[in-house]
């Protein structure tokens, strides 16, 4: 149907998220790893000097190594992937790192726009936005936005979405 369907591709959304998101993702993952390593340390100390001790030490060493790689690679990779764009007609986001996902929804189908700041996000002056549609599978989430930028986006989106009537299904 298209004159040359092979010649076009979907480009990534225009805007990157805040650079502080790298630190945020690092700290968030770090907390998880501290818990994992901490539990292992407790087990190691509690088990005393049995002859299976080296297995515990090996698992601990692997966890520390894996954690370090995760903490170095994941936030930077995410920062390069996470992008967003809102035009007059559509909301478009890209997220993930190993598995990446792009989500597109027309503004006419938007039902609610929520912005949320967790305690950790507040620390880094970040916010995330969830744009929901009538489909349970179609919510668009933008993580790691600068707080003030998030407020601006929410305001814009609600203004545009309010103009549209209908039940958006």
């Amino acid at each position: 149907m298209d004159p040359e369907p092979m010649s076009v591709e979907l480009r990534a959304p225009a805007h990157l998220v805040s650079r502080r998101a790298i630190a945020f993702w690092t700290v968030r993952a770090l907390i998880g790893w501290i818990v994992i390593v901490g539990i292992q340390l407790v087990i190691l100390i509690a088990s005393g000097s049995t002859h299976h001790r080296w297995v515990n030490v090996l698992i601990l060493a692997c966890s520390v190594l894996l954690g370090a790689v995760h903490l170095i690679v994941m936030p930077r990779w995410r920062y390069r992937v996470h992008r967003w764009e809102i035009t007059r007609t559509a909301c478009y986001s890209q997220s993930g790192w190993i598995t990446q996902e792009r989500r597109i929804a027309p503004l006419s189908r938007i039902q609610t726009v929520d912005s949320e700041r967790g305690p950790l996000e507040q620390l880094f002056k970040l916010a995330n936005i969830t744009v929901t549609t009538a489909s349970a599978a179609g919510a668009i989430k933008i993580h790691g936005l600068d707080s003030s930028a998030a407020d601006r986006i929410v305001h814009e989106l609600t203004t545009i979405a309010a103009l549209d009537g209908g039940d958006a299904t």
Binding site: V8, E9, I104, T133, S135, A137
Partner: protein, 545 residues
């Protein structure tokens, strides 16, 4: 979801709206016959508690008074529940009020009513009652929605007609487009409501499909009996354990075990298999009859589809044609081998339930494939429905094939390799890795079959997508009902230039994936199904690839 607070707030000021003197605007009560149903049902629910009170009371001096008080309390509560429940239908709202201490008013805008489900359980049927559930497309698992439990059956039917056809009077009856040009001649033109006909007149109906007793042959292929059988087995085993009966000392078990020790192993296995097959088949047939006895799918002049079914619990589900966003053809492996399939509605306000039978969304129970296709095509009314339901899908190419087969066999291949290693080093019997190899090959075939099911098609106003082997599904989704798109790519998919494209919708499963479509085709599908959405995000493809 978000409109809940708003509508509840509106309901608070309802008396002002209700003063318009419309005949439907009076508060109505549920059927007084529910006074018989509620106590019985509540008593059944509280049997453990009451039994506890009974036995606890036996030891004290108060005798059985406690349990009597309990019974009286339960009956009293159910009377209060009946007395405090009222509903009314104003020109623009459906309102339900319940509760004595915690008053709750649920209101839904009448034009958002998407489905009306009339159910009658055994007890209801004895008393000539029916439960009316009004679906508005809001999903809240914690709260019960607009459920009117207990109206006299004719009143329930009238209410359904009233709720579903009032919307038509505003929008007009001409909802459906022209029939597909190659439609099956059904001898009757699409009916339209004559001018001036009252809304609540009994609508003329057109039967699309009726259950044929011959379809019972598909029941054993649905595996529903296997699940029931396992549940009964589990329940029986549990009861046996609880009752502290030594199974080995029961007479039948002893004679059976004597019989078992006399028969050779192979015969025993054959006997067990045949026995299990017979039992499962019988259970499946019974289940099929319970769910689908007297199944009828009809189309009413007001533009609604109605499904009537059930042996003990009779159900009548109505789906507004405008809410029907597509159909799902489901062909599980066994059913497919027997030449059968079933059809499920993809409709807003009707979420696909567990096992799909429970959700009230079945349009055709397991039946011959040709009938399922035909009904699917006749139920959908937009341009291109015919091809979307039945035409071969566009395959996804060699990379998708490789991915399906690798994903299906790889775990088994690894297990086989490990077992081979164990056989050579630790002296594991050779038949173990050999059977693992057989499994690997079987899963390879499944992967191949998955590839054969995989595909997509954009035709007319529909997107068709198919996938799966053990549970093969094909969906024809109206493009109008597509809300947005998710394009998901794993690292492997990116390397192969593939993506999983999900069309999100408010209907049915909420999202329908096109698995392993090439990234280029994905863009093409989006542009054709939802024109204009993507234009700003497209750029010329780089020439180096």
């Amino acid at each position: 979801m978000t409109e809940q607070p708003r509508t509840e707030a509106q309901a608070q000021s309802a008396p002002v709206q209700g003063a318009d003197g419309a005949p439907g605007a009076q508060w109505r009560r549920l059927s007084p016959r529910m006074l018989l149903v509620h106590p019985v049902r509540e008593l059944i629910r509280y049997i453990p508690v009451l039994a506890g009170a009974f036995f606890a009371g036996r030891n004290s001096d108060n005798g059985q008074w406690w349990s009597l008080i309990g019974v009286a309390l339960v009956i009293g509560l159910s009377v209060v529940r009946w007395a405090t429940t009222r509903f009314r239908i104003t020109p623009d709202q459906v309102q339900l009020r319940t509760g004595l201490l915690r008053k709750r008013t649920i209101a839904a805008p009448a034009d958002r009513v998407r489905s009306v489900d009339v159910t009658a359980h055994t007890l209801h049927r004895v008393l000539g009652l029916a439960k009316v559930s009004i679906g508005t497309g809001t999903y809240d698992r914690k709260k019960e929605g607009l459920v009117l439990d207990g109206l006299a059956a004719p009143q329930a039917a009238a209410l359904r007609a009233e709720l579903l056809h009032r919307g038509q009077s505003i929008r007009g009856p001409a909802l459906r487009g022209p029939q597909p040009t190659n439609a099956v001649p059904d001898g009757r033109p699409i009916n339209t409501v004559p001018d001036g006909q009252p809304i609540n007149a009994v609508p003329e109906e057109q039967e699309l499909v009726r259950q044929d007793p011959a379809w019972l042959r598909f029941a054993p292929f649905t595996l529903s009996g296997l699940i029931t059988g396992l549940a009964i087995l589990g329940f029986g085993w549990n009861a046996l354990q609880q009752s502290h009966v030594d199974a080995g000392r029961l007479g039948p078990v002893q004679s059976a075990s004597r019989h078992l020790s006399d028969t050779p192993l192979w015969l025993l296995v054959v006997q067990l298999l045949v026995g299990a097959l017979v039992v499962i088949s019988l259970l499946s047939v019974a289940g099929y009859l319970l769910s689908y006895y007297g199944f009828r799918l009809t189309r009413h002049t007001g533009g609604t589809l109605q499904v009537t079914r059930g042996l003990l619990t009779s159900r009548a589900t109505s789906i507004e044609q405008t809410r029907l966003r597509g159909v799902e053809l489901s062909e599980p492996l066994l059913l497919r081998a027997a030449g059968g399939a079933r059809l499920i509605a993809v409709a807003t306000g009707l979420r696909v339930g567990r096992g799909a039978e429970r959700g009230g969304t079945v349009l055709v129970p397991p039946a011959p494939r040709s009938i399922v296709y035909e009904v699917g095509q006749r139920v959908l009314d937009e341009d291109g429905a015919w091809s979307a339901v039945a035409d071969p899908l566009r395959r996804h190419g060699a990379a998708a094939l490789r991915r399906r087969v690798v994903r299906a066999c790889l775990p088994w291949l690894l297990i086989t390799a490990a077992l081979v290693l164990l056989t050579t080093t630790a002296g594991l019997p050779a038949w173990i890795p050999l059977s693992a190899l057989a499994l690997t090959l079987a899963f390879g075939w499944i992967g191949l079959d998955r590839y054969r099911s995989l595909g997509h098609l954009v035709v007319g106003s529909y997107l068709a997508t198919g996938a799966g082997s053990l549970a093969r599904r094909r969906v024809a989704l109206e493009a109008e009902g597509i809300i947005g798109w998710n394009i998901r790519r794993t690292m492997f998919q990116r390397r192969l230039g593939l993506a999983t494209l999900t069309a999100t919708t408010a209907a049915g499963r909420q999202g329908y994936p096109v698995i392993d479509i090439s990234s280029v085709d994905a863009v093409d599908v989006i542009r054709r199904a939802t024109p204009g959405l993507l234009e700003e995000f497209i750029r010329q493809r780089q020439q180096d690839r």
